[in-house]
């Protein structure tokens, strides 16, 4: 009995300590006022619990609605995350499919190749892309050498570079769940479809894709959710015209020193993310139920 309780309590405790408590702190700061002090907002815990509740108000959230910068940044982040998720799926699915169809003795190596980039720091890999995409970079030099271009392609510091960065960075998160789904597929289903008159293409679209739907959904969420709040990739590869909420958050926090407004931006971002997260959770649950 106690063991069972513990087992149930553990994940809830995890959520409470690592998600709910920090969220409450951020929520509290978002309802405070900025101040020139350590920490830079008021009231703090030192002022007593009474003061903390007496001075709560929603002016920071009201402020966010008054300037079109914020909704434009949310919208632009949403669009960039959506497009990159789609591109990642487009690149990732064939790779996962190839891995699942590869002979058994190859699979461990292929899997290794997908995971290998994680052994190098993410930051260094993004920096490497700066070297590849810049005006005098490897890509332009190669294209010059091949005689395909006369003027360098301007890729670095544009949204295109941001898409490339996100697709590259999150690709393994797309490949692995799709591979897991495809790997479990019984090959005889495909054969049966072809026996019953499907062409290979039809069998792929009518049998393989629907049966790997769970992998596609899981992979897409794993890419979309972190891409929405991405800060490092747009600030290194993007230009001054790349508007993303992660950058707005940075400016509120560092340039304006306004932790309360920064926290309000973060709370809204979380609320926006809760919808896809709940959908994801539900999908996972359904999948588990289907397996049982």
């Amino acid at each position: 009995m106690t063991r069972r309780t513990l087992l149930i309590a553990a994940p809830y405790l995890w959520l409470l300590v690592l998600f709910f408590a920090p969220f409450l702190i951020v929520l509290k700061i978002s309802l405070s006022d900025a101040a020139l002090a350590i920490p830079p907002y008021t009231p703090t815990i030192k002022d007593g619990v009474g003061a903390m509740f007496a001075e709560l108000d929603f002016e920071n959230f009201v402020f966010l609605t008054e300037d079109d910068l914020y909704w434009k940044a949310y919208f632009s982040s949403f669009r960039i995350a959506l497009v990159s998720t789609f591109l990642t799926l487009l690149v990732g699915y064939p790779i996962a499919y190839g891995m699942a169809k590869a002979p058994d003795e190859w699979r461990a190596t292929l899997m290794m190749l997908v995971i290998l980039p994680f052994w190098t720091s993410f930051l260094i890999r993004v920096y490497a892309w700066m070297g590849i995409l810049s005006n005098e970079g490897l890509l332009n030099q190669l294209l010059f050498w091949l005689g395909l271009i006369n003027e360098p392609l301007v890729i670095l510091n544009t949204n295109l570079a941001v898409y490339i960065g996100i697709v590259y960075t999150y690709l393994p998160f797309m490949i692995l769940p799709i591979y897991a789904a495809l790997d479990r597929l019984d090959p005889s289903l495909d054969e049966a479809a072809q026996d019953l008159g499907c062409t290979r293409t039809q069998a792929f679209w009518l049998v393989t894709i629907p049966l790997s739907k769970n992998g596609i959904v899981a992979g897409s969420f794993l890419v979309f959710i972190p891409a929405l709040g991405e800060f490092v990739i747009p600030s290194l590869l993007g230009g001054s015209g790349t508007l993303m909420i992660g950058k707005v958050l940075w400016e509120e926090f560092f340039n304006n020193r306004d932790w309360p407004v920064a926290s309000a931006v973060a709370v809204i971002l979380l609320l926006l993310l809760i919808i896809p997260i709940v959908l994801f959770q539900r999908n996972q649950q359904k999948q588990q139920e289907a397996e049982q």
Binding site: A34, A37, I38, A73, S240, L243, F254, N255, N256, R257
Partner: protein, 361 residues
């Protein structure tokens, strides 16, 4: 008995270990010291020096205001220093532990009082101006022999910028530097705190922003030196470093630094001890070490910035003390202005305007 001897040996070893493990953690700007000084400090004092770098005042300030930064010595610039003193981020210096303070340069200490009125919290490390770095050959090629290289018109007049965009222009990504300069160009008070006056800079900057290849606060050193760009609006010492790198590379790139004739921002980077520094005693030792005349001279000779240490001047290399771009003559000094920190409301206005200028949103 034997056991207790062993025990006391162990305790002594531990104590010894603890004593030799004294640490000082210093957080300074990147590329801002002669690194051999760090070793020299360790050998002289036996203290382990942990040296960490940052590249923006904002990052330093956020660490300080979050509390518990773990650093013993930090190097904020003037307006940031003033705000952080108000926030209670620093402890008062114990002058009895800083005998080398007598080496300081009165003129600079006096100017620093704008930010640290009682001279109680900080000592000046380096100071410099913000101005224009020019690749002479390329700029004259684009604008002709009489290009206004010593004027802000070079970078704030869209007609000039349109011609310069081909060879590349970088601006500091720091509104607190660009806005005062633009105000000086317009003939307004560069230290204005009035949002209506500050707003006058928006059309000027919006008109030239499309011709700026990048707003960035450190990449321009290499870009200038390599000849990738022909103009940078940046910090004096950085541009002089670019000049020297180009000269060393012998790549035919010739860089000059100009403090604009409309007036240039004079800034101060200062060392201070955070209120919650783990080792304030060691921090004082580091400050005293830095204020040694020869050490400070070594630092300036290396980074090409002027310092606030009068005694160090006799040890400065001729191309540092003799260069008016580093140690301005009296006339230029007259033409330098300082700024004050923006209030939170004005700061928000400035950040918002800056985003609008850069991204169009």
């Amino acid at each position: 008995m034997k056991y207790s001897i062993l025990g006391s040996v162990a305790v002594a070893a531990m104590l010894g270990g603890a004593a030799s493990a004294e640490e000082v953690r210093v957080y300074n700007w990147s590329d801002y010291i002669d690194e051999s000084l760090l070793e020299k400090f360790e050998t002289e004092t036996g203290i382990d020096l942990i040296y960490d770098v940052f590249d923006s005042n904002e990052v330093l300030e956020t660490k300080l205001l979050a509390g518990g930064s773990g650093y013993d010595v930090v190097v904020p610039s003037g307006t940031f220093l003033q705000r952080q003193i108000t926030a209670g981020a620093f402890q008062k210096l114990d002058t009895s532990k800083l005998p080398n303070m007598e080496n300081l340069w009165g003129t600079i200490s006096e100017r620093l009082k704008k930010y640290d009125p009682k001279a109680a919290y900080a000592i000046n490390y380096m100071w410099g101006t913000t101005g224009i770095g020019v690749n002479i050959g390329k700029v004259k090629e684009a604008l002709g022999e009489d290009a206004p290289v010593d004027s802000l018109a070079l970078i704030l007049d869209p007609a000039n910028m349109e011609k310069l965009q081909e060879c590349g222009v970088h601006f500091l990504d720091a509104p607190v530097e660009i806005i005062p300069a633009t105000l000086a160009y317009l003939g307004e008070d560069p230290d204005s705190q009035d949002t209506d006056v500050i707003a006058k800079t928006e059309p000027v900057l919006t008109a030239v922003a499309p011709f700026v290849q990048k707003f960035h606060s450190s990449e321009y050193i290499n870009a200038l030196a390599n000849g990738d760009i022909c103009v940078a609006f940046g910090w004096s010492g950085d541009i002089l470093q670019a000049r020297d790198r180009a000269a060393e590379a012998e790549n035919g790139v010739e860089i000059e630094y100009y403090a604009p004739k409309e007036g240039a921002l004079m800034w101060f980077d200062n060392m201070a001890i955070p209120v919650d520094a783990p080792n304030p005693d060691g921090a004082h030792k580091f400050l005293n070490f830095i204020m040694d005349a020869q050490n400070m001279a070594a630092a300036s000779n290396y980074v090409y910035y002027a310092n606030g240490n009068e005694a160090s001047q006799e040890f400065l290399a001729e191309d540092v003390i003799g260069d008016t771009a580093i140690y301005p003559d009296a006339a230029t000094l007259e033409n330098l202005y300082t700024t004050s920190p923006y209030s939170p409301k004005v700061q928000r206005f400035v950040t918002r305007m800056w985003t609008k200028i850069k991204s169009g949103t």
